[in-house]
């Protein structure tokens, strides 16, 4: 009985958590304009989405494209910066190290809206015209700490003499980094990249404040504007379902990788 109650509780919790997503997914298979009306099963919205037969489809497609380009570019830059930063932090000692880790954690805990507004003010102050570049820069700022955190444990695992061993065998510092250190950090870097990618993908607040006035839209800002204009475009329902699936797959990949890594540590 106790077990049954516990199980039920867990399921209710999970259903509540996933209800909105399931709701959207279900209603992506009907044509009704107003969300919540069921007018029979149809894949018309998916067809519209892929054939471009949507109201204001051009701006929706460009928003999707922007979202992914920004996410990929920001994630790549964050991965490089975050890995280098992690190596640097690892080589610090004692107080300096804990200070740097603390400073690294603040941007992650800082509310997005504050990050967004403060970046907006910074760009204005520096007279940087806002657009693509500022959005990417802003995303890099909040993504990099995640990369640092996912790469650091890999560095700690490195045998302390690995770098020296490479130098000893005739590798220059750059060769040692490239041929010995990076290959061993790669799993952490890949996890960090995916984390950064998903963080960038679903950001709204920071993008909203740093995109400027040139009409740059990512998916989140597009949906926001669209919803204010009188109801969601119905084709957003299948789009959101698809994005959710992509994120889900990415998360599964990350988790499987981490589980594998932990196994390989245990086996050592």
């Amino acid at each position: 009985m106790k077990k049954f109650l516990a199980q039920t509780y867990l399921w209710i919790l999970l259903i509540l958590l996933y209800a909105p997503l399931i709701f959207i997914a279900i209603f992506s298979f009907t044509e009704a304009r107003v969300l919540g009306n069921w007018t029979g099963f149809s894949t018309q919205l998916y067809e519209n989405l892929f054939t471009g037969n949507v109201n204001g489809s051009a701006s929706l497609i460009s928003a999707v494209r922007n979202t992914f380009i920004i996410a990929i570019v920001a994630a790549l830059i964050s991965t490089v910066l975050g890995t280098l930063a992690a190596i640097g932090i690892h080589n610090l000692r004692g107080r300096k190290k804990s200070t740097m880790l603390f400073l690294n954690n603040i941007p992650m805990l800082n509310p997005d809206i504050i990050t967004g507004v403060s970046l907006f003010l910074l760009f204005v102050f520096l007279r940087i015209s806002q657009g693509y570049a500022t959005v990417v820069l802003a995303h890099v700022t909040f993504c990099t700490p995640y990369v640092v955190l996912s790469v650091l444990p890999r560095i700690t695992q490195l045998s302390p003499n690995t770098y020296e061993a490479a130098l000893d065998l005739g590798a220059t510092p750059m060769q040692a980094l490239w041929k010995v250190i990076v290959p061993q950090l790669r799993p952490g870097m890949v996890s960090g990249f995916f984390l950064a990618f998903t963080m960038s993908l679903d950001d709204f607040a920071v993008t909203f404040f740093t995109r400027g006035t040139i009409g740059l839209d990512t998916l989140s800002t597009f949906i926001y504007t669209d919803a204010r204009k009188g109801g969601l475009t119905p084709e957003l329902r299948p789009l959101m379902t698809l994005i959710f699936l992509i994120i889900l797959i990415l998360l599964v990949i990350i988790n499987v990788r981490q589980a594998k890594q932990q196994n390989s540590i245990k086996n050592k």
Partner: protein
């Protein structure tokens, strides 16, 4: 002048990390093809020395000459030396073959030549069938073989080994010792080996450099180091030994454990205090007391496999460690004898504590960074003086707050009837103490000295 025979010459090497001096004026040279071991307890500077030779650490002062040329400015990747690290430091993302080929590939050696060399060196370390194995799947001993192969394949002028066997179990370690020795003979490459294991050093080396606290204590062949230790530290660190206070009565006559012995040492002078070292296996012990030189009672007898380790209290109140093949009963009266050639006499580095001090007023003197009360003196305040305190007059307290000066027990030597301690004070000076009390290394102590025991003298010009 360049000696063709010398491959590495280390001159006046010093290294400080912050305030801490880890190497203090190290000088030695290494002959071509030699197996030399840097031996000492952890923190003695042996690994730092090796790392300076390899190029991972810059010396604060001094030079390393390789074939007569100073290599100080050359980065590690351009030095014709290779290192075998303590924890192997293999590259886990590469298999055995690629680990070994790493150095050759960087030098753009042709593929077929790499292949030939890797196979040859794999055979040398008896790992021929393992070339495509993942390094993480190998045992510690196998990983160490790969690490040795990875270094040797580059045909270094000198192979540096940093405690390469420390992570292996005893049996494996013994086997690898023999193999290393064979490899050294076969290849003719100079080996520089770092270890804290004195037995390993005695087994493997042509020459041993004993180090402690950043200084070289003794350089010599294994037999020299074992049979003729130059100071208390070496005698205590290498093997088991009885270290006792003695007096050199005249040439070839020494007194210790309140008994006069014949010895082979000369030139110390008459009635000079000395340290005497006698190895436990050199104390001849017998039940028949007629032929013995001195006598005692067995206080314990422990079976050690090949021999029994026996502690004997002499009639004169000293405790000696003795090794013998025969078992003796506790309480048994025994006679003992020591051959003159087995008594090693060493000059005492000091016979009392000497500090630099300064007079504060007519009843106080400052030394070891603190003010001590002393007997009334007529010297003027501010005069620099020499302060002398006998070893036995230093009073150690359990609690630091009870002492005038604080320190840490740094080194302990048992001298048969008392302990001779080296205490490192907070100001970084050494205080030597004779005591009956038992202290442990690392104990924090307070140091007191009574006013009557402080002897103030003029600084020698």
């Amino acid at each position: 002048m360049v000696n063709r025979d010398v491959i590495i010459d280390i001159r006046h090497l010093s290294k400080s990390f912050g305030d801490k001096k880890v190497l203090d004026d190290i000088n030695f040279y290494i002959r071509r093809g030699e197996f030399i071991t840097l031996l000492g307890p952890s923190g003695c500077g042996k690994t730092t020395t090796l790392r300076i030779i390899a190029g991972f650490v810059e010396p604060t002062e001094g030079q390393v000459l390789l074939d007569g040329k100073d290599i100080s400015g050359i980065p590690p990747y351009q030095r014709p030396l290779n290192t075998v690290f303590q924890r192997y430091a293999l590259f886990p993302h590469l298999d055995v073959y690629d680990n070994i080929a790493f150095g050759l590939k960087l030098k753009n050696v042709p593929e077929d030549e790499i292949d030939k060399k890797v196979r040859k060196v794999l055979k040398l370390v008896s790992m021929s069938d393992y070339e495509s194995r993942d390094v993480d799947s190998l045992s510690g001993g196998q990983q160490q073989r790969v690490a040795i192969a990875r270094a040797l394949v580059n045909q270094p002028k000198v192979l540096l080994l940093d405690e390469p066997l420390a992570a292996l179990d005893l049996k494996m370690r013994k086997d690898m010792q023999i193999e290393l020795k064979e490899m050294h003979e076969k290849l003719g490459i100079t080996f520089i080996y770092v270890t804290h294991d004195q037995e390993e050093a005695l087994t493997l080396s042509d020459t041993i450099v004993v180090m402690n606290e950043g200084k070289i204590q003794q350089i010599g062949t294994p037999t020299d180091i074992y049979n003729e230790p130059q100071n208390e530290f070496v005698a205590d660190f290498i093997g088991e030994s009885n270290i006792l206070n003695g007096t050199m009565l005249c040439d070839r006559k020494v007194n210790f454990v309140d008994h006069d012995f014949d010895c082979v040492d000369e030139g110390f002078g008459e009635n000079v205090p000395v340290d005497v070292v006698v190895r436990p296996e050199d104390v001849e012990i017998r039940k028949d007391q007629s032929k013995a030189e001195f006598f005692g009672t067995v206080s314990s007898c422990t079976f050690k496999g090949v021999f029994y380790q026996i502690f004997v209290n002499t009639e004169t109140g000293f405790e000696l460690m003795v090794q013998n093949y025969r078992k003796y009963d506790v309480g048994e009266k025994v006679g003992m004898q020591i051959q003159p050639g087995n008594i090693q006499v060493m000059r005492k580095p000091r016979i009392r504590n000497t500090f630099n001090g300064e007079i504060i007023d007519n009843t106080h003197v400052c030394f070891l960074g603190e003010s001590f009360e002393c007997k009334p003196t007529e010297l003027k305040a501010g005069t620099e003086v020499k302060v002398e305190v006998e070893f036995k007059n230093i009073d150690l307290q359990d609690h630091q707050e009870e002492g005038t000066v604080n320190g840490e027990v740094h080194f302990i030597l048992y001298k048969g009837d008392h302990y001779h301690l080296t205490v490192l004070t907070e100001s970084g000076e050494h205080v030597y103490v004779d005591t009956q009390d038992i202290w442990d290394k690392g104990d924090l102590v307070g140091i007191n000295i009574a006013a009557r025991d402080i002897k103030i003298g003029k600084i020698d010009e």
